[in-house]
Amino acid sequence: MSDSIIVRLRRANPVPVADTAPAAELFARITALPGDSRLGASERPRRRHRRAIVLAFVVLAAVVLASTALAISHWLGGELVKSPVTKQEYIAAQKQLTLPPGYSWPTFRFPPDAENSVTTRGAGGGHAVMAAQWSWECYWADAIRTHDAAAAARAHAALNALLAHDTYEAPAGAPEDWTPTPLPTQPFMVFAHDGGLEWTRAGYRLAAAGDATRIAQSCRANVPG
């Protein structure tokens, strides 16, 4: 197929050659970070795989027997909720959390099949906590870049408060949908027990010392809105 459009685009490529300069230092820096914990899991003995498969079948059978997500919710004492509840939690959490000046709450978008799905109670609040956290990180990174000490201090205090009051770390080996009991009344987010929370704290310590690298990365990757 002759395609003059593609040819013209190729000729107009503004960066025709990729820079292939070696970046050994960057490689070393990245691989010094915590890696993907799932990779180690794949190396575990086969017996554990078998156990996981059996467990998966049990869970699948339970889901099939329950026949509807709502039934599962009743079985588990109402800890699973449908999307309107999650949305309501998200809206309610906005009244309990603050965003930096100039930021607004991102729209909570459900996937098209959300009507048929359930989520853990508190997930809406967790979504709001994360949105607040990322907004404050962006605000802090900007404050450091523009040497606005007052704004930086405000962001630091807000993020410290979020980590102190609205953040939990799941115990080691806890399931992915672990939630604290009793369920907190304030909105909360849960970190897995994989070093992520300590990584975040370390990023804030760096930012407090004037190094915005990590919070800027987090901001770039997670920017709300």
Binding site: D3, I5, R8, T31, S42, D142
Partner: protein, 179 residues
């Protein structure tokens, strides 16, 4: 298996992914990122932390998809910051632009939908096959081919008649439908 050997196995697995650093930086630069090297470094950091999600046989579609999200997120953030006056007028951020293009082509590209534009550019600038490009956009290959065909037609229509595109002899055979 020890933690040390786990780590070195992970590093070995990451090395061929990291080899695309330059290509990812070039991708970000082509999509108008103001800090393409930082975006590429961030993409690689994400790839390292989510290494089991990165296809080992062909990581580029995954890497470009991640870079695309970062560039767009950065552009949204810059636009919002600019709108709230947190930066001076010199820093006013625009959505990603096609840098250093002839104005007619840039305008025509900008008139396309984001997905149409990206479909064209993944093939023309990133040298992906339609199958790879489809993977990067999260759509199936057939849908991608249809989209690419329409995008080419739309761009051609925007640019005017075929005489503006150079003579037929200058074209190259691109076997886009069979890859």
């Amino acid at each position: 298996m020890t933690a040390t050997s786990d780590r070195s196995a992970a590093e070995e697995r990451f090395r061929p992914v990291f080899a695309h650093l330059g290509a990812v930086a070039a991708y970000a630069r082509r999509r108008g990122s103001r800090d393409a090297d930082a975006v590429a470094a961030e993409v690689m950091t994400i790839a390292w932390r989510r290494l089991s999600d990165v296809p080992q046989d062909d990581p580029r579609p995954w890497l470009y998809a991640t870079a695309r999200n970062l560039v767009r997120a950065d552009a949204r953030r810059s636009a919002r910051v600019a709108a709230h006056g947190a930066e001076g007028p010199g820093d006013l951020a625009a959505p990603p632009e096609m840098p250093e293009l002839d104005p007619a082509l840039a305008d025509a590209l900008r008139s396309l939908s984001r997905l149409d534009r990206e479909a064209l550019l993944l093939v023309a600038w990133e040298d992906l096959t339609p199958t790879q490009a489809a993977r990067s956009l999260g759509i199936n290959a057939t849908a991608f081919r249809v989209r690419l065909l329409r995008a080419r037609r739309r761009l051609r229509a925007r640019l005017g008649n075929a005489s503006n595109m150079g003579s037929h002899d200058e074209t190259t055979n691109l076997d886009l439908e069979t890859t």
